[in-house]
Symmetry: C2
Subunit: 326 residues, 2 copies
C-alpha cells in the first residue's frame, strides 16, 4: 500500500495521454490537432483523437510547443508606468485586442516613456534582440524615432505642438506658454510637443514669437500655483499639453480672475470629450490614429514575412480644431 498520498496534483493530460486513449501514436495526435496539411489522416482516426482530447481536456503545452517550433506567437507591447491619457491608452488597448484576435499573445513590457535618454536606450537594439531571443515574434515600440529590429510605431508628437502653436499664432498670439507635465514618463510626449511648438514659432512670419515652457503637475495645487504667478509671466496664450491639463489650468486661471480667451487663449490636445463640456469650449488639436485592427494586420503581415528589416509605421495626423477658448 502506497503511503497516504497528499492531495495528488490533478494530472495534466499530455499528448501521450490523448494518444493512449485514442489508441494511436503521439504523432497522429499532433497531426490531427494541428490540422496538418502535409499528411492525410483518416476521418475515423481524426474523430477518435478529437474525442479523446476533448474528454481529457487536453491543452497543448505552450512552452513545449514553442521550444520545438523555435518561435512563439508572442508580441511585446510597451507600457508606461504612468497614465498616458485616455487617447493613447485606448489606442494601445485596441491594438492589443486586435492582436489577440489574430491569435497572438500580448505581453506587456515596460519602458514606454522612461525619463529622457533612457527612453531611447530602453528599447535599444540589444534589448530587442534579447526580447526576440526569449521567444517574442515581434516587439512594438512607440516613440519619436524608429528602433532597429522592432516594429516602431512612430508617433509624430512634434506635429501636435506645431499645430497648436500655429493655431495660436494665426489668432494673433505672440507670447505662448507650453505646459510640460512634471510627471515622470510623459517626456516622450511632452518633449516633442514642446519642440514642435518652438519650430512653429521659429517659422512664423511677422514679429518674433516667444515660447515658454511651463512645468506643471496634474494636481489642483500645481495648477493654482502656476495661475497665481500668471500675470507676471506676460503670456497671452497657452498650449496646455492635452485636454486634461488644459481643463485643470483653465479652471485655475478662471479662479484667478483671468478671462479665457480674452486675457489668455487656451488650447489643449487629444480632442477628448471633456473639452466640449467646458465653458468656454476648449480648442484642441485633434489626433487621428489608425485603428488597432489596421495596425495589428500590419504587424501580422510583417511577422509572417520575417524581413529582419526594421519596420517603421508612421502614425498620426494632427489638426487644430477651433472652439471657444482661443
Amino acid at each position: 500500500m502506497p503511503p497516504p498520498a497528499s492531495p495528488p496534483p490533478p494530472p495534466v493530460p499530455t499528448s501521450a495521454d490523448v494518444a493512449r486513449l485514442a489508441g494511436v501514436s503521439r504523432a497522429t495526435v499532433s497531426y490531427v490537432l494541428n490540422n496538418a496539411e502535409a499528411v492525410r489522416i483518416s476521418e475515423p482516426t481524426r474523430r477518435k483523437v478529437r474525442a479523446a482530447a476533448e474528454e481529457l481536456g487536453y491543452v497543448p503545452h505552450a512552452a513545449a510547443r514553442s521550444l520545438r517550433a523555435g518561435r512563439t506567437r508572442i508580441v511585446l507591447l510597451p507600457t508606461s508606468h504612468v497614465p498616458i491619457g485616455p487617447l493613447y491608452s485606448t489606442f494601445l488597448n485596441e491594438l492589443q485586442w486586435a492582436l489577440r484576435r489574430l491569435d497572438y499573445t500580448v505581453v506587456q513590457y515596460g519602458s514606454l516613456g522612461l525619463s529622457g535618454d533612457e527612453a531611447a536606450r530602453a528599447v535599444s537594439a540589444h534589448n530587442v534582440a534579447t526580447l526576440k531571443r526569449a521567444g517574442a515574434r515581434a516587439v512594438i515600440a512607440m516613440g519619436p524615432v524608429g528602433v532597429p529590429g522592432a516594429h516602431a510605431l512612430v508617433m509624430n508628437q512634434e506635429e501636435v505642438g506645431a499645430r497648436a502653436a500655429a493655431h495660436l499664432i494665426a489668432r494673433g498670439r505672440r507670447r505662448i506658454g507650453v505646459v510640460v507635465p512634471e510627471e515622470d514618463g510623459l517626456e516622450l510626449f511632452s518633449g516633442p510637443r514642446l519642440a514642435g511648438a518652438r519650430q512653429a514659432a521659429g517659422a512664423a512670419a511677422g514679429p518674433a514669437v516667444g515660447i515658454e515652457a511651463l512645468p506643471m503637475a496634474y494636481s489642483e495645487e500645481s495648477a493654482a500655483a502656476l495661475a497665481a504667478r500668471w500675470r507676471g509671466l506676460g503670456l497671452d496664450a497657452v498650449f496646455a499639453y492635452n485636454d486634461e491639463y488644459a481643463m485643470l489650468l483653465m479652471r485655475a486661471l478662471q479662479d484667478e480672475g483671468l478671462r479665457v480667451p480674452e486675457d489668455v487663449a487656451v488650447i489643449g490636445a487629444d480632442d477628448l470629450l471633456i473639452g466640449r463640456l467646458l465653458r468656454p469650449r476648449l480648442s484642441t488639436v485633434q489626433i487621428e490614429l489608425p485603428t488597432g485592427d489596421h495596425l495589428a494586420s500590419l504587424v501580422d503581415r510583417a511577422v509572417r514575412e520575417p524581413s529582419e528589416v526594421t519596420q517603421r509605421h508612421d502614425l498620426m495626423t494632427a489638426a487644430a480644431v477651433h472652439r471657444e477658448s482661443t
Copy 2:
C-alpha cells in the same frame, strides 16, 4: 569560398555555445548562471563561464527553461475591451508594474466585463485550468464573485451604489435615477452599482424611495437626449455611475435649464480630479483600493505556497464625499 550566404540569421547562442567557449559542460554553465546553491563551483570556473556568457550575449531560452521547470513566471491579468475608467485602469497598471518588479511576466488575457452572463463564464473554472495548464502561475480575476482556482480580486461594487444612494437619501431625495452606461463591457461594474442602490433604497427608513435605471451612452448626444426628457421623469436626484458620466450629464442638465443641486442632486463615483474642477463641485463616492505593490506581494506569496485553494482578496472600501452638487 562559401556561396554568397543570404543574410544568415544571427546565430542565437545556447548554453552549449557558452559551455564550449568556456571549456566546461552545459551542466556547469547552468549551475553558475543560476547560482545553484546545492553545488560548489570554483571561482575561476565561474569567472570563465560568466565571461563567456557575457561575450556571446547569452540569454536563456525562456520556453526551454519553463518546459523543464514545469512552470512559468507568467501571471494572467484580465483586460477589458472597453475603457473602464481612469481609476481601474490605473490600478490595473500599477498592479502590473508591481508584479513585474517581482519578476513576473504579465500577460493580458481578455474578458474583463463581457456582456452579462458571459462575464462569469469567461473566467470559468475550465478556463482557469486551461490557462494554468498552458503555463501560467497565477490567474487573476476581477469581479463581483470569487472564481475557483484563480486569485479573485473581488471588488464590491454594490457598496459603491449603496453609498451613493444612501447619501442622496440622507439629503432628503426620494426619486433617484441611476445612470447605467450603454457601453458593452461595463455591466460588470454598473450592474452591481445599480443593485447596491436598490438595496440602499429598500433599507431606507421613512417614505418609499424609488430607483430608476437610466441607460445612457458616453456621448454628448445621449446625455442631451436624457436631459431633454428629464422633467418628465420626476426625479430629484441622480447617481451618475462615475464622475465622467456625471460631468457629462450635469452639463446636459444645466444646458436644459435645470439647477444643480436645487432641482436635481448629482453624485458621481471614483473621486476623479475632474469632479473637483466642475461647478458646482461634484459630490462623489470615493473608492479606496489597495496599492498594486500590496496586491502583488499577496499574489506572490500565494504563488509560492501552491495551496490550490481559491484565493479571494477583498478589495475596496467606499465612502461618499459631499461637495456641492448634492
